[in-house]
């Protein structure tokens, strides 16, 4: 049996990758994917704890997160496509109409 800490470390690495990608990248699709990465890093933690503690609620949470992530992907991609159609760019630094 793989110890819990392995999962947690892996999850932390994945999360850090997500954060780094979110902060560094300019392409909105990549940023979007980084967010997914962070969500799934969290999911991994949930299931790891659920399995280790034998508690069902962790599994249930993962399903919720996945559902939300799917919904988010749908809505987010729709927005990205809409943005791209009007502004013809995916660079977030140039999507700054609301900036002061």
């Amino acid at each position: 049996m793989v110890p819990l800490s392995y999962y947690l470390v892996l999850s932390a690495i994945l999360f850090a990758c997500g954060v780094a990608g979110f902060l560094i990248k300019r392409n909105i699709i990549t940023i979007f994917m980084s967010i997914e990465l962070m969500l799934n890093a969290v999911n991994l933690t949930f299931v790891a704890f659920a399995a280790s503690l034998r508690a069902l609620s962790g599994h249930v949470f993962v399903f919720f997160v996945m559902v939300v992530a799917a919904a988010e992907a749908a809505v987010g991609l729709a927005i990205i496509i809409a943005v791209f159609r009007t502004r013809e760019t995916l660079n977030v630094d140039r999507v700054n109409l609301l900036k002061l």
Binding site: V19, F22, L23, V92, D93, N96, L98, K99, L100
Partner: protein, 670 residues
């Protein structure tokens, strides 16, 4: 039995309220009716009260009426109430009577002035406060009147407030009075602390348990502080400086407030507090000394003044000094007697002067007058009576009152004060006859057609008169003069001393006020000493002293006659001969300059450099501005966090999360 005394002060208040609030739209006749009606009714009511008062049994005097509790704070309480005894009755009659006459006179004097309704509203409010002052049954209510007359005085001195000098004179009067009020207030605080309240009857009753203080103690302190208050209101050294400047007001105001009534408030207060002063010989002596010094000091300034109203102002200060002198030798009755006769003859003097100023279209400088007796004979005769009265010739009013004061001073053993008083009496006679000769005798010293555009009184708006010949005033101004002239002649006859075959009726009338709370041990009544032994010898002495003061008056008269009638060239030569001394006295001993240099300049400097530029601008404004600038700077720094750059926000979130995690890890490690 209630006499409903509240009616007396409230009538003028009602008049002031109606005229002051609504009078702008009233025609002059209505304003007159309200102002004169309210004071006349008040006076008539006071007369009726006087008649009733004489019918009261002795044990009901003082007659005290309590209406309501004004305030309660812990064990202290003050009430609205009226205290009517012989003293306040005399004061009420003077205030309402003389006040009414001056109201009548003002109708003629102020006829061509703007702010007519305002003037009468102020006069009425003054009457209200003065009556509150004299009728109150506790010191606190007295203080209300005390401050109120100060306010009315401020308003009336500055009546022509567009003129800088008038506005400044008003402020000077008010501020100088504040200095005195401060002393009076502390005296009241001491009374509250040691007697628990300020009701006359209970304070005086409590005082009877106190012995006479041979060295300085509580009562001496109270007495001296009260004296400070009295010097402010009654224009004594060192706080007299406001009164000559107060002549900026219209002349009826000078007559009413700065001669007949308000300035006597200090004398009244000292007489009212006789229970305190009788037990504090040091304070009483201070009263006498200050009064005497003021009498001669002001008289000497009056000798050289050229402005007719200024002469009268200094003469007022000097006469008030006599009243203090009387009170200061515990002859309160004599002081109040002189207060009464002074109210008559000084009102007469001022109103006559007002008639002259009115008739000359605003001229106040006596050097531009002369020979006026041909132009205004009625005014001349009234002025003559007043001049002879104030100079102290028998059998006119001031002869009896002034000589009673001088005699009581002599009898109390203060021979030096008596001597100064007599010299001051001679000076009084001199400067009054100087005024008389300069205005009424010789030749009129102005071109009849000369343009009098430079009058001081703001009184130049006589469109229909123009710069015509001096003219007599209308009857509405002359009649009050005549009534006052009669009073000036006969007013003293109520107090003819026993030495002249009279019965000293006035003194005996007031006696209960001053003997009820007198200390048991000391015999404070010279009258009883007079009646006991050596009566004959004393009377001879009194007659002799009377002769001396009449002689002093006669010398003053002759001097003035010689210098200002016979040899009119001499004064100028003497002025040159006296040189620096002459200008020193002419500049009123430079007291104003002295106060300016020692008190006002330092206060201005401290206020400007320390309080304004130091405390206010640097400390308070600085703290405020710096904290505002600090907030601004911090906000400016924080503003940059809100860049609108999403990734920087995310970075902050990540950073924050990292900090939280680090904190939790750190906590877990510990």
């Amino acid at each position: 039995m209630s006499l409903h005394l509240w009616i007396i002060p409230l009538l003028p208040l009602a008049g002031a309220a109606i005229n002051g609030l609504l009078g702008k739209r009233f025609p002059k006749a209505v304003v007159n009716a309200i102002a004169l009606g309210s004071t006349a009714t008040s006076f008539l009511y006071a007369l009726w009260v006087a008649v009733e008062f004489f019918g009261l049994p002795a044990d009901q005097i003082p007659h005290i009426e309590r209406y309501a509790t004004w305030m309660t704070a812990g064990t202290f309480s003050a009430e609205y109430g009226i205290y009517l005894d012989q003293l306040s009755l005399v004061m009420v009659l003077i205030v309402t009577g003389v006040g009414f006459l001056i109201h009548v006179y003002s109708v003629g004097y102020m006829e061509h002035e703007g702010g007519y309704y305002r003037f009468f509203a102020y006069l009425n409010i003054f009457m209200f406060f003065m009556l509150t002052l004299v009728l109150a049954n506790n010191y606190l209510l007295m203080f209300v009147g005390w401050e109120g007359v100060g306010l009315a005085s401020y308003l009336l001195i500055g009546f022509w407030f567009l003129k800088d000098s008038a506005a400044n004179a008003g402020k000077k009067a008010f501020i100088t009075n504040r200095v005195g009020d401060f002393g009076f207030l502390i005296a009241l605080f001491l009374l509250i602390k040691h007697f628990g309240n300020l009701q006359y009857d209970s304070v005086f009753k409590a005082l009877t348990a106190y012995p006479v203080e041979t060295s300085a103690g509580l009562l001496t302190a109270i007495g001296l502080l009260m004296l400070v208050g009295a010097t402010g209101k009654s224009a004594q050294i060192p706080l007299y400086v406001w009164l000559p400047d107060a002549m900026e007001g219209p002349t009826p105001v000078s007559a009413l407030i700065h001669a007949a009534t308000m300035v006597t408030a200090g004398v009244y207060m000292v007489a009212r507090s006789n229970a305190v002063f009788n037990r504090a010989p040091i304070a009483l002596m201070a009263v006498a000394v200050i009064g005497t010094l003021t009498a001669i000091f002001a008289a000497s300034i009056g000798i050289l003044q050229t402005d007719i109203k200024k002469v009268l102002a200094y003469s007022t200060i000097s006469q008030l000094g006599y009243m203090f002198m009387g009170c200061g030798v515990a002859a309160y009755g004599a002081g109040i007697f002189h207060l009464m006769t002074h109210a008559f003859f000084k009102a007469l003097l001022f109103l006559s002067a007002g008639a002259i100023i009115h008739g000359l279209g605003g001229e106040q400088d006596m050097r531009h007058m002369g020979g006026l007796r041909r132009y205004m004979p009625k005014t001349f005769w009234c002025m003559t009576i007043a001049t002879f009265t104030i100079a102290g010739f028998p059998p006119l009013a001031a002869f009896f009152s002034k000589d009673e004061i001088l005699w009581k001073t002599w009898a109390s053993g203060n021979r030096l004060l008596w001597l100064i008083g007599v010299i001051a009496a001679g000076m009084t006679s001199f400067y009054m006859f100087r005024l008389w000769f300069m205005t009424f005798f010789g030749e009129y010293r102005e071109e009849i057609t000369a343009d009098k555009g430079h009058g001081h009184d703001g009184h130049n708006s006589h469109g229909e008169h123009g710069p015509a010949a001096p003219h007599e005033s209308p009857m509405i101004m002359i009649v009050p003069l005549m009534i006052l002239a009669v009073l000036s002649i006969a007013g003293g006859w109520v107090g003819v001393p026993a030495a002249l075959g009279g019965s000293d009726h006035f003194d005996h009338f007031l006696d209960p006020v001053f003997s009820t709370y007198a200390p048991a041990s000391a015999n404070m009544q010279p009258a009883s000493a007079e009646e006991s032994g050596g009566q004959h010898e004393e009377r001879g002495m009194e007659l002799l002293l009377m002769g001396v003061s009449v002689a002093a008056a006669a010398i003053g008269f002759l001097g003035a006659w010689y210098l200002y009638y016979k040899r009119t060239d001499l004064p100028a030569k003497m002025a040159v001969a006296a040189g620096g001394l002459y200008t020193f006295v002419l500049d009123k001993y430079k007291v104003d300059e002295f106060y300016g240099a020692t008190i006002i300049r330092p206060i201005i400097l401290i206020s400007t450099n320390v309080l304004w530029k130091g405390v206010d601008a640097t400390l308070i404004d600085g703290a405020l501005n710096e904290s505002a600038r600090g907030a601004n700077d911090i906000s400016d720094g924080l503003r940059h966090m809100q860049s609108g750059n999403i990734r920087s926000y995310a970075g902050w979130v990540a950073f924050g999360a990292a900090v939280v995690i680090a904190f939790m890890v750190w906590n877990g490690v510990r």
